[in-house]
Amino acid sequence: MKRILGLIAGMVFFIHVAVPQQIATGTQGPVNRANGLWDGRQETKLVVGGYGQIDYNQPIVSGEFQNGKLDVHRFVLLFGYQFTDKLQLVSEIEFEHVKEVFVEQAFLNYRINTGLNLRGGLLLIPMGIINEYHEPPTYNGVERPNVDKYIVPTTWREIGVGVSGTILPASLKYQAYIVNGFKGYGPEAQFNGKNGLRGGRQKGAESIISSPNFSFKVDYFGITGLNIGLAGYFGKSQSTLYHGLSKDDQPGKIRADSSVIGSSMVGLDLRYDKGGLQLKGQMIYNSISDSPEYNEFSGSDLGSAMIGYYLEAGYNIFKHVNTKFEKLVPFLRYEKYNTHHAVSESLTMNDAFDRSDLTAGLGFWFTEGAVVKADYQWFFNGADQHAQQLNFGIGFMF
């Protein structure tokens, strides 16, 4: 027996000196939450996270009383499940204004290697910064930029399949997806002049498809502190009027075609951090085809081109202060967005849709995942109307 034990001990010893050692003494702290990378990730297959924001918005109108609004604007729970080292589920369940429930993302990701992932399900459309990076501690200001509401209809997600990957030696990340498009019509017009395409988002809720849309984004991060993104989104909107239509029904087909627009959206965004300085900017242009036919058919007032951009500068004061807290960032953001950048001849341009916002505020980050924010916003438009609002917010992610 002793001989056998000696042999086994010898074998164990032999293996320990013959192969590289991994120090195996358990896990510690959040840094190693999903430890076990090289031994099959057996420890934590389920990952739970979340984020949320609770806002107080106070409109300011001189000579008038105004009620403030207090709102659990969003509360989102994230569940990830690692089936194998390669196969993963990513999902987010969102409660908006407490009472509305949405699925914000839900997709399976199969990682072939760092450079190539296959994925399918309910996907975020990569356009601009906020649609993908929408956790409140990742941006300045209580509310998301309005460019990311009216031009990029954040949170914009549709069902589809595609590829993504990070090419490390080239400092490039890419994503390319085929998804269902906006529902532009059914049972009535879903697009309009004020909100652009926002009303047509299908959000994965019994979505319809009459023609597929294509979405891509490439990010370059080869210059220290700088991330530049270029995104494109192309396709026709979807319409319920094609459903059940006979393929020989020419008048019906013309009618259905009139309920559809084409969208060619391109977006450029950049994020730059240097020392305590934080710069962000993005520009989105959306060229819309067949808007005259759409407007005539549906009685809507959709523009034929939309544009939106913003520039934001912030500075982390705690860069120079010895403190246990994370960041204190005053910031200034200027936005311009116009859903009637161009209109067809048959439509009168509405100057009130040519909007610009100025936001000045302060954010205090206790830690990376918990922030309190305060800001003041001035809203202007081309029709010489303006409004002001004071915001306070609590944001978190974990």
């Binding site: 050692q21 099959g40 210059i223």
Partner: protein, 176 residues
């Protein structure tokens, strides 16, 4: 009788240890090691390098199981440096990286080998990683202070910084 039982128990334990040793090590991807080795060798021009796995004593401080350390030798056995393979946690997913130290324990190379998450990939930017290079092994870093913050990759950046600090201490104290 009891003694025999104990011996059997001990034997079982040893067999389990053996199985664990094999499985824990066998799954370290050969491809990854080879890739890291190729990249590491580039740090020592015109020198033929032979990598040699080394044994590091686990201590309370280093509660990570994914460090793999190689001694990089010249053909005659002279020490040229060390290659470390490890991994760090981003917000939800780990990424793998390699570090090369030269014989003076100055960090000469730091590269991300595998990045799994959709977010925080900016840590793999060579320009950002350069901040860690050519510094002595005694250096300890603070993210946002002597290491620049990196937009979009705060959690991965912090995690990598913490792991570089940890590995600097490990290499400094555990190598002769």
């Amino acid at each position: 009788m009891r003694i025999i039982l104990n011996i059997q128990k001990t034997g079982l334990l040893l067999i389990m240890m053996l199985i664990f040793s094999i499985s824990a090590n066998a799954t370290l991807p050969e491809k990854l090691i080879n890739k890291a080795e190729k990249l590491a060798v580039k740090n020592f021009k015109d020198t033929e390098i032979i990598k040699e796995p080394i044994f590091i004593i686990p201590s309370e401080y280093y509660k990570v199981k994914t460090d793999t350390v190689f001694r990089l030798n010249q053909k005659d056995g002279a020490l040229m440096g060390y290659l470390v393979l490890s991994s760090a946690m981003g917000r939800f997913e780990e990424f793998d990286f390699m570090i090369v130290y030269n014989a003076d324990l100055t960090m000469t190379d730091l590269k991300i080998l595998v990045y799994r998450s959709e977010f925080g990939y900016q840590v793999s930017s060579r320009g950002w990683l350069k901040q860690f290079l050519d510094n002595p092994v005694e250096t300890q870093y603070t993210y946002g202070q002597n290491i620049d913050a990196i937009s979009g990759a705060t959690l991965s950046g912090k995690s990598l910084t913490a792991n570089v600090n940890r590995l600097n201490i490990l290499i400094n104290t555990e190598t002769e």
